[in-house]
């Protein structure tokens, strides 16, 4: 009897201890600060995307390394980087200098946090996020996939242009890194031969701060706090002096301003149309094709997600007509019936493997969306390939340009064709994933993913097959989830590739290859 009690208690305690030992779940990518695989010394000659020229945002020549002012900065840096607290050490390792991957993660988390569809009010109507009053309910923004892809695009392209400019000034002014001038500085990150002025980490922090605050205005205090820690970490690490940071920050802010000016007039403000415009698109599709998509939520949402996102200004594609997919199969046609039957067959006999694929790629509300998912893959590659921040920003910039162009093209097709979702077209059809609030054709996941995979495959050719398989799996996952027909997925993949080709053409000509 006593023995049984003892064993029982022991088992319970053992489980409690086991639980206590469960490792903390990762909230960011685990990697150690690395030495860059190359420095891209000629990076200042690459062609920026939006800036008219690399020197459009000017910064002054720095004080000479031998000047008294700079010597005082070196002394300050030496003081700041000695005797770090454990929190300071953690911050240095976390930001690992340039901080580009960290800010990409922060942007992903913010996308997830704000990816929440407006709730119905007690009277059955829905409120709309208001950029002029972001804290009213529902909060601004609703970071759905179009919003998120645009956010990632502005953030990453601004980083790319700002870092091209930073590289230009680094080599034009050619002031060595602080630790080259004063070898007594105790650095806590790998050293390299990049000139120190301006600080690339400060550029990245400044661009991130301005773009992300504009995109997520309610997060201003949070973002400022992160940016301050990032800048401090550059000093704790013993790698950037005050003037390196101040003018890196200035450059980053100036470049971000140019991007925010573009964002202010790119058409996004009009993308979430009022109901009469949204209705007119439905009427036009009905007249032209004989069908229309309807939102089936209860209460019905009066307007789909961003009917005019297809009119937002793209980066590389000439216009949406150039990449618009062909008319989808008419409901009732042999081609439609084939894919509809396949869909019913798959969803009613879903295997565990298919269920896993549907969930792995679901990227629905409260997630970083498909564009965020591909940013994560890109960040993994950046760390694996030990890319410097300029080279890393280039990966993210072209990928996110292609993703946003693909999104614009996809949304054009969605509201041009206004095609019904399976739950609308197939009586009694039920799904394991929630059906999003926009038309079916083409699949956004498929389009975003194929565009991202094509750019990543161009930049990392040895892994192109892997990215291509992921894009195909992402497309397939929507069929398993019951929310897309195969023709939505296949055509979305093709459309995404077509959009990405334009971005890849720009990349080939920017001087970096």
């Amino acid at each position: 009897m006593k023995k049984i009690y003892f064993l029982g208690t022991l088992a319970f305690v053992a489980l409690a201890v086991f639980q206590a030992c469960e490792k903390d779940l990762p909230t960011s990518l685990k990697f150690s600060p690395y030495a860059y695989e190359s420095l891209d010394e000629n990076g200042g000659t690459w062609k920026p995307v939006l800036l008219d020229s690399t020197t459009q945002i000017g910064i002054p020549a720095p004080e000479d390394a031998s000047s008294a002012a700079y010597q005082a900065e070196l002394a300050d840096l030496k003081a700041a980087s000695s005797d770090l607290t454990s929190d300071q050490e953690k911050a240095v390792a976390y930001w690992s200098g340039d901080g580009l991957v960290r800010w990409n993660e922060i942007a992903r988390d913010l996308a997830a946090k704000y990816n929440l569809p407006p709730a119905p009010k007690p009277d059955g109507t829905y409120g709309a996020p208001d950029p002029a009053n972001p804290s009213s309910i529902p909060n601004f923004p609703f970071a759905h996939p179009p919003y998120a892809c645009r956010m990632f695009a502005y953030w990453s392209i601004a980083q790319f242009d700002a870092l091209i400019a930073a590289w230009h000034y680094k080599y034009e002014y050619n002031r060595p890194a602080a630790y080259k001038t004063d070898v007594g500085i105790n650095t806590h990150l790998p050293q390299n031969d990049l000139p120190g002025y301006p600080s690339d980490g400060a550029v990245v922090a400044a661009v991130s701060k301005r773009i992300l605050i504009a995109m997520f205005p309610l997060e201003k205090a949070y973002i400022e706090e992160l940016a301050e820690e990032h800048l401090n970490s550059l000093q704790w690490a013993g790698i950037s002096t005050e003037s390196d940071i101040v003018w890196g920050d200035s450059l980053g802010r100036g470049v971000a301003g140019k991007f925010l000016a573009r964002a202010g007039s790119d058409g996004m403000k009009a993308a979430q149309t009022p109901k009469p415009i949204s209705d007119s698109l439905r009427v036009a599709a009905k007249a032209q094709f004989g069908w229309q998509w309807d939102n089936l939520e209860a209460p019905t949402r009066p307007v789909g997600i961003t009917p005019y996102f297809g009119r937002v200004k793209p980066w590389c594609i000439p216009n949406v007509e150039a990449v618009r997919p062909p008319v989808p199969p008419a409901p009732g046609s042999a081609e439609f019936i084939k894919d509809a039957e396949e869909l019913k067959e798959i969803t009613s006999n879903l295997t565990e493997e298919q269920r896993k694929i549907a969930n792995f790629w679901s990227d629905g509300p409260s997630t970083y969306t498909p564009p965020g998912h591909w940013n994560r893959f890109a960040a993994d590659e950046i760390v694996d390939h030990r890319l410097n921040p300029l080279r890393a920003a280039r990966v993210l910039a072209y990928m996110n340009m292609a993703i946003m162009d693909a999104g614009i093209s996809c949304w054009d097709a969605k509201y041009y064709y206004h095609y019904a979702r399976p739950i609308q077209a197939l009586p009694g059809f039920k799904t394991i994933l929630g059906t999003p609030n926009f038309p079916s054709y083409t699949s956004g996941h498929s389009t975003f993913s194929a565009a991202a995979a094509a750019v990543l495959g161009h930049i990392f050719p040895a892994e192109a097959a892997k990215f291509d398989n992921w894009a195909k799996e992402a497309a397939e996952s929507r069929i398993y989830g019951g929310i897309h027909y195969r023709f939505d997925a296949d055509m979305g993949n093709e459309q995404g590739k077509a959009c990405a080709n334009y971005a890849v053409d720009v990349a080939k000509a920017d001087g970096a290859e």
């Binding site: 029982g8 319970f12 489980l15 909230t27 709730a119 209860a298 969930n359 409260s366 997630t367």
Partner: protein, 321 residues
């Protein structure tokens, strides 16, 4: 002599929640002991519906769910290993469906559960007797169901160890009060995506979800009537998740949400001796969730049969309280 056999009632006030208060559904919380060598098997049907739920503390309905119904069929046993030690087991099959919207319901085997219950202390006090019964339990998924599909998912997918204490005072005339409290330690659950966002905490890059632990309690007033052939019980009980986030406005629920509830229930069990130590019983009951957080306000009823007989030792002894 037909004292109570098994009281599966709390076990059955199945499935309230948006999720599954599995701990309410299957954890033996009574003070019934099988004598050495006696086995009781049971089959219970449960039916549970809600059309309102709490999103955090905000109570609402959802036109895309309508009424959520969970039905269950649970097989159970209780075996008297000795007069003082019982082993219990349970395995439910569950089916979920919504009356509105386009989301697919799920059906399948949920979680196995095993408990060891002991009569630790039992002595006369005044006009009745006082007993203390510790119970240790272990439950875990019995199939590869998806915990990340609330409110449709069959369960929360965690392995859970629980320690419970039950105190009962029973008058010789057949009236009794019983109280229990338990602590449930839960392992991480696994979902099929490797990034998720926890409100107030941030993004997590893992397919594992840290599950907060749970406490639960209950109090019961019971009576044995009709020459001890009928048992009637009224119960008030609750569970409290010790951590976890609220469901945000119009967001999807998540396995690690902070799920709390209180519930009141009534149950009946009628015993039919069949001679030679074999006893059949019919049970029925209902319950209503009174307060909640991140759970559905469910109304549940159940009904089933138990059958008790000797398998080794003295086969003619009945269960005693």
């Amino acid at each position: 002599m037909n004292k109570i056999i098994l009281k599966w009632l709390q076990l059955l006030a199945v499935c309230t929640v948006l999720s599954i208060p599995r701990l309410m559904a299957q954890t033996p919380t009574d003070a019934i002991m099988m004598d050495k060598g006696r086995l009781c098997v049971a089959a219970i049907y449960g039916h549970d519906t809600w059309d309102e739920y709490w999103e955090g503390t905000l109570k609402r309905s959802n036109g895309n769910i309508g009424t959520l119904t969970r039905q269950s069929v649970m097989g159970m046993f209780s075996l008297g290993v000795t007069d003082r030690i019982n082993v219990l087991g349970a395995l439910p099959w569950i089916k979920t469906e919504a009356s509105a919207g386009q989301m697919k319901g799920v059906q399948g085997i949920q979680d196995w559960g095993v408990w060891v219950k002991a009569r630790a202390i039992d002595f006369k006090v005044g006009p009745g007797s006082l007993g203390f019964y510790p119970v240790l339990g272990l439950t875990g998924p019995a199939s590869n169901y998806l915990s990340d599909y609330l409110p449709f998912s069959l369960g929360l997918g965690t392995v859970e160890a629980s320690g419970r204490g039950i105190l009962i005072y029973e008058l010789d005339m057949g009236l009794y009060v019983r109280a229990h409290a338990a602590y449930h330690v839960r392992s991480n659950t696994t979902i099929e995506r490797d990034y998720y966002y926890i409100p107030g905490a941030g993004g997590v890059y893992s397919d594992e979800v840290d599950m907060p632990n749970v406490s639960s309690f209950g109090a019961t007033l019971g009576a044995l009537l009709l020459n001890n052939n009928l048992k009637v019980e009224a119960t008030y009980e609750g569970m409290n998740t010790l951590g976890g986030a609220d469901i945000r406005l119009h967001d999807m629920p998540f396995p690690s949400n902070n799920m709390d509830l209180t519930r009141a229930g009534l149950s009946l069990q009628y015993y039919i001796p069949l001679g030679n130590g074999h006893i059949l019983s019919v049970i029925a009951g209902g319950s209503q969730v009174l307060t909640g957080r991140n759970v559905g306000q469910s109304t549940a009823w159940m009904g089933g049969l138990t059958y008790q007989f000797g398998v080794f030792g003295n086969k003619n002894t009945n269960a005693t309280n």
